[in-house]
């Protein structure tokens, strides 16, 4: 029977020759992930099981990244609870402040998630790792507790949707623009319960960082997972990081899809998603002139090296507009150090931006840049829901790093072409 890449990975982990959409299956896990918000609930549920070990101390990852460095006493207590659990159960992949990163930037970088893997994480953006050709999905804390105990999780095999991006990208257009455009097309529940498979010339030419950004936001269309078939770029990315074997899967030519969407990627312009849903995406030209109070560049969506380099190309030698605050958050310590060595952080500071240690912080309205009533931000993050970054009467617009950086200089939303022309 012909299968999609998602079906093949699920079948392999269910110990089956084949699976079909709609089937309920039990799968083995390669990794189970939690953070400082979701792990405490999972640990509480896990302790009800009375088990003295996790299924594999090397296959559980705990990354306190949301409210860290601890923003208040209650957050500190939660981090402490996770840290104590990691010590007691000898969790190998526990990452402390100063050695950590935003979970979905950190795990691929550290080679802890690999092509062909099956991963669950108690964080909705766990779908990010599909960029490596893995099946990866977000779950809740109780599912994580069960996963940590059994090394298994049940799934309904999703139907697959195919997204084909023809042609070459225009200057200043990246993975964020493709995924915002796509969510604008299908809506925030357009891929609900489904697998989103991204292919085509524009995807083949897209960097790993760009693919991670695309799969990261599959959840914003309601998808169970996003996935990119692994290729030479994938191999180049993982071979220097992997510490265990991995497998490349690909969809059969006659695999069946519930729906196929095709886009002329050369026609897609830099995108901006208006409040209060990611599906409200429009070309940046329709957002030009909207005044801003804050710009945030970072997050599990756009806090990677390529994002910082794009930002630096626009900001270097220029000044942030006096009206607004700019907060830039490298995704991991490794990215932070690399940006430091390349002089990128210096360029940000000279431009008048604040540079933060890795944290999810402002993306979810946690800390490190909360909005007051009536304030408006442009962010490279993933959600612009009501109150997402602070006061329920504040507003968040979403974009890629190029539009965010250009807008930081202008004080209002502008196209990067207005700052630098099309010299991508």
């Amino acid at each position: 029977m012909s299968m999609t890449i998602t079906e093949k990975i699920l079948a392999k982990h269910a110990g089956r020759e084949e699976v079909s959409p709609g089937e309920l299956i039990n799968c083995s896990l390669d990794l189970a992930l939690g953070n400082d918000i979701t792990a405490p609930v999972a640990i509480q549920e896990f302790s009800r099981l009375g088990q003295d070990h996790v299924f594999d101390p090397e296959r559980v990852a705990l990354v306190p990244d949301h409210f860290t460095p601890n923003k208040d006493i209650k957050s500190a207590e939660q981090s402490h609870y996770v840290r104590e659990f990691a010590r007691r159960y000898k969790i190998v992949n526990y990452f402390e402040v100063g050695r950590m990163g935003i979970e979905h930037c950190l795990l691929p970088e550290q080679g802890l998630v690999l092509p062909g893997d099956l991963i669950i994480g108690a964080d909705s953006h766990t779908c990010t790792y599909g960029a490596l050709g893995a099946f990866s999905t977000g779950v809740g804390s109780t599912d994580l507790a069960a996963g940590m105990a059994l090394g298994e999780c049940w799934f309904k095999v999703p139907e697959s949707m195919k997204f084909v991006y023809h042609g070459k990208l225009r200057p200043w257009v990246g993975g964020k623009d493709l995924i915002l455009h796509t969510i604008g097309d299908i809506g925030v529940d357009g891929a609900r319960y489904r697998a989103m498979e991204f292919i085509g010339e524009a995807i083949e030419n897209l960097s790993m960082d760009g693919r991670l950004t695309m799969c990261n936001m599959a959840i914003e269309a309601g998808a169970k997972n996003g996935i990119v078939p692994p290729d030479e770029r994938t191999k180049e990315y993982v071979e220097k990081r992997a510490k265990r074997p991995y497998t490349f899967y690909s969809s059969d030519a006659d695999a069946s899809y519930v729906e196929t969407r095709e886009y002329d990627a050369s026609q897609i312009r830099p995108q901006v998603a208006f409040p209060h849903l990611p599906e409200n995406s429009r070309p940046v030209s329709e957002a030009e002139g909207i005044e801003l109070d804050q710009v945030v560049i970072g997050s599990c969506t756009n806090g990677r090296m390529e994002d910082l380099r794009t930002t630096a190309r626009i900001m270097k030698g220029r000044k942030v507009h006096r009206r607004l605050r700019v907060i830039i958050i490298p995704g991991t310590q490794e990215i932070y150090l690399q940006a430091l060595r390349e002089g990128i952080l210096e360029a940000f500071v000279e431009a008048g931006a604040a540079v933060s240690t890795p944290t999810c912080g402002p993306c979810l309205g946690g800390h490190m840049g909360i909005l007051a009533r009536g304030e408006r931000a442009l962010a490279t993050t993933n959600r612009n829901f009501v109150g997402r970054m602070g006061h329920p009467e504040s507003e968040v617009y979403l974009s890629g790093p190029a539009v965010a950086a250009a807008s930081a200089l202008a004080g209002c939303i502008v196209s990067p072409e207005e700052v630098l022309g099309d010299a991508d």
Partner: protein, 166 residues
């Protein structure tokens, strides 16, 4: 199991940030979370919701974050059941896992109005409007999930599995 309660109605795409804003996620105490339930959708809700309330919403209820704090807050606020046109998938799993009854029924979600009294037969998925006439059939749970619910949630289900392993 039969449930009876008053309808509190919400719209489409109610995300988990509206159900329980992240600024309150520095605790896992259900009562504390319940005090801020639905705060960014309806600031009055947590203070006025009556025990046994039935929440009714449009499509894609619970979209966004995987935070289990969302169904925990709703359950701890005294809501007995959620009826929606559709649910986001992580929220759906989480609700089942913690034993919060949820029913997918677009017809009931469209027809039921704020303040109406409704009865729900969970086993059969039958929803009845007791204020006006109206009866609706929700999609049944897959048998696998019925088993999780029958055992009182996922943790009990896992305990059974672990006993079998040992």
């Amino acid at each position: 199991m039969q449930i009876k309660g008053v309808v509190y109605k919400f719209g489409n795409d109610v995300d988990t940030d509206q159900i329980i804003p992240a600024r309150y996620l520095n605790t896992i105490d259900p009562a504390e979370l319940a005090a801020h339930c639905m705060e960014d959708a309806d600031p009055e809700f947590a203070g006025t919701v009556r025990p046994g309330a039935i929440m009714v919403a449009g499509k894609n209820f619970g979209c966004g974050s995987s935070r289990e704090h969302a169904p925990i807050a709703i359950k701890a606020a005294g809501v007995s059941c959620i009826i929606a046109a559709s649910f986001a998938r992580i929220f759906y799993r989480n609700a089942v896992n913690i034993g919060l009854p949820i029913l997918e029924c677009p017809e009931a979600a469209a027809a039921l109005e704020e303040g109406e009294t409704v009865s729900v037969d969970l086993a059969g998925g039958v929803i009845r409007n007791l204020t006006r006439s109206g009866e609706y059939q929700a999609a049944p749970f897959p048998s696998f999930m019925q088993e999780i619910i029958r055992q009182g949630g996922l943790i009990n289900y896992v305990q059974e599995r672990m006993k079998k392993r040992a």
